[in-house]
Symmetry: D2
């Protein structure tokens, strides 16, 4: 592709740090946390429990805490996120537990605010080709995780990554989160060929969001296994203290017990 | 859908004016002009020629002049549009010919500027679910044409329209521009069932962009016929004085001669 | 494509006769009749009424009567068709009204039997790449209408046509019947760009099945308009004396009144 | 689904034997061999080498030898397989090595012949809804592996399996081989969510063909890992003594060295 100038400049696979976490290194990354930061208590409870499960009990510390502040909802009548307040609560949860934190930004006007609070930013699928947002993020200098749109080609996705790289940002990673295809029993299709493909054609780390393609929690652990076995540099997974009460994505968020079982099994299989 | 509150409030099909043009009325609408406003001369030449062909020669005046100022390009190294300068040139071309004008906005920070210059705004496919942009547009009060993302469902599209309606905007129309499907010989697939479907399930006018699904100009007149025959409220078509020299979409823009032949035939068939 | 040897041998667009009907000529073709030949009376009633509407009242005689004898059903518990008996009834209806008749064959062992009764044979979408069937049909020498599979590329479709041409059959036409794509409100997506595309890249007549993409009858007349306006050589449409009692495709078959209204309007628009 | 009568009759997950191999049991299955049986030597060489690698060196014996006799080729001018002769060669290779053997059948008239030679039969993607073939296979009584069409829903696939079950066949397994979706760098998309989904909604064993979605051999080992990690009951993989000389699927077949490396790693990871 003509647009992969920095992406193909050579220099080997890209790897970078987000707080203590390493993205694109030998050890896989786990990005976990609620779909949305709903209040100060739930995000602190989530952060503390994730730390207990992963760091204290399993000795695994390559973790980033995720939490949505501005939510890209299909309907204008759905919960839209708590905005800057959510970022304060997320930051505090990160500080108290030592976990690096990340959030999604949709509006170029929010990039500066977000950058004050979080250690990394992700771009949601719907904004993969929101070029004003990408340009603003490149300037902000925070590490960016770029989700693939569910209707986009791999080339389009990598060209969007190039918007970030072209403006000088070096800490860029990709997140595959499922595409729209034929599947009546899952929310999206997780084309697992994308993982080795992206590793062949680009230098960027590739993370798999295993919650959104699943759409319901029983599938999540199987997708996590497949993603890591396929060579992904990590997984992103939605975890909530009480998923059934979640203000968004209630059906696909894991509770702490399911999450712990999943990561324990991944550790035992040598995948984490 | 739970999110179609205003859309389904009743009140019959929505119809509105953009300058002298009527959107959603008995007479179909023609939105024509270059992909991008490349300089003052080419947009004025286009406006004047379109007026000659449609108004003077064919007696057809339900026309809007389109021209891109900010371009959503896949690659950061492609021409990104001339921004506000392009709007000045577009406005002047509109004023000199009496044609209402419209442009695409991608960045919520540009909505105010655009609203000063143009009579209507379209949202491109890639920004269909850019909710901060939709909210800003609802406030600006200009008529909005919302393109469907090439990977989105009809429900998601109508829910995005509802973002505009929910905040009080009444002048909203839809543009179908093709979806990503199986077709090695066209740029996108134009699912023509969408036209009668959208008329059955919503109250919004539905326009078909016949240039983007085609991807090359020989297909455009056939898609225009199909769109109008299927009951669309109008077509959007890219026209450029010298398509081969265009800075974007060179292969799919019509020259004036092809455009004139096409609209004459549409008139003769009673479709326009 | 390497496989288009006969298809691209030159010689101009292919056109042929099925009884009195001309396929691929100046005048569009109407293939109409029930999904399935359910009994002798209903097919005779359909044939006689179609003749009355089209030939007697509208003066339009480029018609073929369709009727299924072996049905390719998704479920083994659905009605599978009356087989050879249905062919007898169909033949009789054709003979009494003077309409040429066609049916679908799925099993290579049925090709000989079918060829004794009907004037043309269609291959359903699901059997587009059933190569033993295609080879048997090429030998039988009856005109063949080849439907595109809802998951196939245009190249694959034309290569399947080449199976027929390669073995010496000259009377081959294509039927587009919709592909599986994003559309929650129709049964399939009718990518109308396929019509001009196929006319550009092949020499075969292209018919559009307007019933299967619709899935429900209110959409059918709009798709018929779009198909003919896009330049199709004809339409295939399911018509049943009492659609609500039909043993298959109940929702998408037109009754005689809807069919008559549709073809009258197509005539008035100059599309038929 | 109304059509899942036998499939949902209860009785727990289905498991059966093919020669010494167990399908749907605790131990995963490896189906390996060339795309096509090209001559007696190459299939015997393949069988003997597979046995050496898997049984002798790795102590893994849950294996079936695959080899095509009738090939479903897109183009009529491509190699169509050696037919019954290939079955003789395949049988002999099986007998000499003790490996059970399987082949693909496309024509209902070939079912009887195939059943005399092989231990199991697979139905290719293109014939998933070839109902005369399915009915003939149900009568033949040999175990059947049913591939999913690349454009079919999961419901359609399971309804096709029901055609086999409804007629009394009990030894039925599913093979996912990739669907047509957005992926410019692989031949098909391997939607890995299908594996846990099919295990939730059906009682049938699910095998993943890791060669066809890949389209090129470098991706194959990664897909094999993902498939088994996602819980598949086995993998199907194309192996050829000299892939670059293969008469079909040259780019995606593994040579013996790549195959051995792959299965060794799968054993070391505990996935096989």
């Amino acid at each position: 592709m003509d647009c992969w100038r920095v992406l193909h400049k050579g220099g080997g696979p890209i790897s970078f740090r987000v707080g203590r976490a390493v993205v694109g290194g030998e050890e896989p990354l786990v990005i976990a946390g609620p779909c949305s930061v709903e209040n100060p208590d739930m995000i602190l409870e989530t952060a503390a429990t994730l730390k207990q499960i992963l760091v204290d009990r399993l000795g695994f510390s390559n973790v980033i805490l995720r939490g949505g502040a501005w939510k890209p909802r299909t309907s204008p009548y759905s919960f839209q996120g708590h905005g800057e307040k959510a970022l304060e609560w997320l930051r505090e949860a990160g500080d108290k537990t030592g976990l690096p934190v990340m959030t999604e930004v949709m509006d170029p006007r929010d990039v500066g605010t977000a950058a004050e609070y979080v250690d990394a930013i992700w771009v949601g699928a719907r904004n993969m080709q929101n070029t004003p947002l990408l340009k603003e993020l490149a300037k902000a200098g925070k590490p960016v995780f770029l989700k693939r749109h569910f209707g986009s080609t791999i080339n389009e996705w990598l060209c969007s990554a190039e918007y970030l790289l072209a403006d000088g940002l070096e800490e860029v990673a990709l997140i595959e989160r499922g595409i729209r295809c034929i599947n009546e029993y899952a929310r999206f299709s997780l084309d697992i060929t994308v993982v080795p493909v992206v590793k062949e054609v680009s230098r960027l780390p590739i993370i798999v969001d295993v919650s959104h393609p699943a759409g319901r929690r029983s599938l999540v652990p199987w997708l996590a296994r497949a993603a890591l076995a396929a060579g992904a540099h990590g997984i992103m997974v939605e975890v909530h203290p009480r998923p059934d009460e979640a203000l968004s994505d209630a059906k696909q968020q894991l509770d702490f017990r399911m999450f712990e079982t999943m990561v324990k099994e991944l550790r035992e299989m040598g995948l984490l």
